[in-house]
Amino acid sequence: MTSTEGRAATISDPTTWVAQHGDALFRYALMKMRDPSQAEDMVQETFLAALKARHNFSGQSSEKTWLIGILKHKIIDHFRKHKREQSSDDIETLSEQLDQQFSPRGHWEITLTHWQDPDQAHENEAFWKVFSACIAHLPDRLADLFILREIKGLSSEEICKLLDISTTNNMWVMLSRARMRLRNCLDSRWFNHDNREVR
């Protein structure tokens, strides 16, 4: 039972957390860790840490944002401990690369090939592997942004806070970069790839 006194009033009953937030946390963790059992462990650790810290929850952000914030830090710690290299965070270099797809006057410098019946790919498990790999190859913050955007119940403002993005306008520009990069990746690794078998 949640107490109604003080600041803890806004947090829900911890026994409902898994049902409410489990999927969102797990999917985010799995995208980052790429290993289901490690992702499950991270989710459990997050809930237990949240349980201990729940009396400090200020209610400034939503419960889901707060939990994802904890999970995000846990994942960063995990990578640090295991010295696994995280993908680069060089958004500027990427932006420069993407800008070169246009002439100085803003015309396309590359040829775009039409994707034939793209939604058919959704039925193919191999497509999801390629799509996930393309997301993982984005600069870290762009990948985070792209994933978090699809989690229901996270507002733009809260995503900006989680990822230290100064304005929603910046967030839109970043998303546009991410999508353009993903387009290039899918174009070469899926739609114009002769051999679609992915191991």
């Binding site: 797990f26 499950e40 994707w115 996930s132 994933i147 546009s176």
Partner: protein, 92 residues
């Protein structure tokens, strides 16, 4: 007239926010006459649909699976256990 680069940005922002009437008209006019941008538009819409499925689909083999019920139950019982322990530690 909007440049292709500006249109590319608007196509993406149209996925994230409501475009103004002025932006919408500029975009529509450009897409109507520019094959490359209209191709880009279709591809970005597909990417947006795919992203939604990736994170929200409950069908197996499509996107990222949800947390398995078994694991969810295990985590939930660990939470309950912790809560019980907390209760017992309290003097009242």
């Amino acid at each position: 007239m909007l440049s292709c680069k500006e249109v590319g940005e608007l196509v993406s922002q149209g996925i994230d926010r409501k475009l103004s009437l002025r932006e919408k008209i500029g975009l529509k006019m450009h897409l109507f006459i520019c094959k490359t941008c209209s191709c880009y538009d279709k591809q970005l819409q597909f990417i947006a649909r795919s992203a939604r499925r990736l994170m929200q689909s409950n069908k197996t083999g499509q996107g990222i699976p949800p947390l398995s019920q078994m694991v969810g139950a295990r985590i939930n019982s660990t939470i309950k256990q912790q809560l019980d322990d907390e209760q017992q530690k309290r003097p009242e």
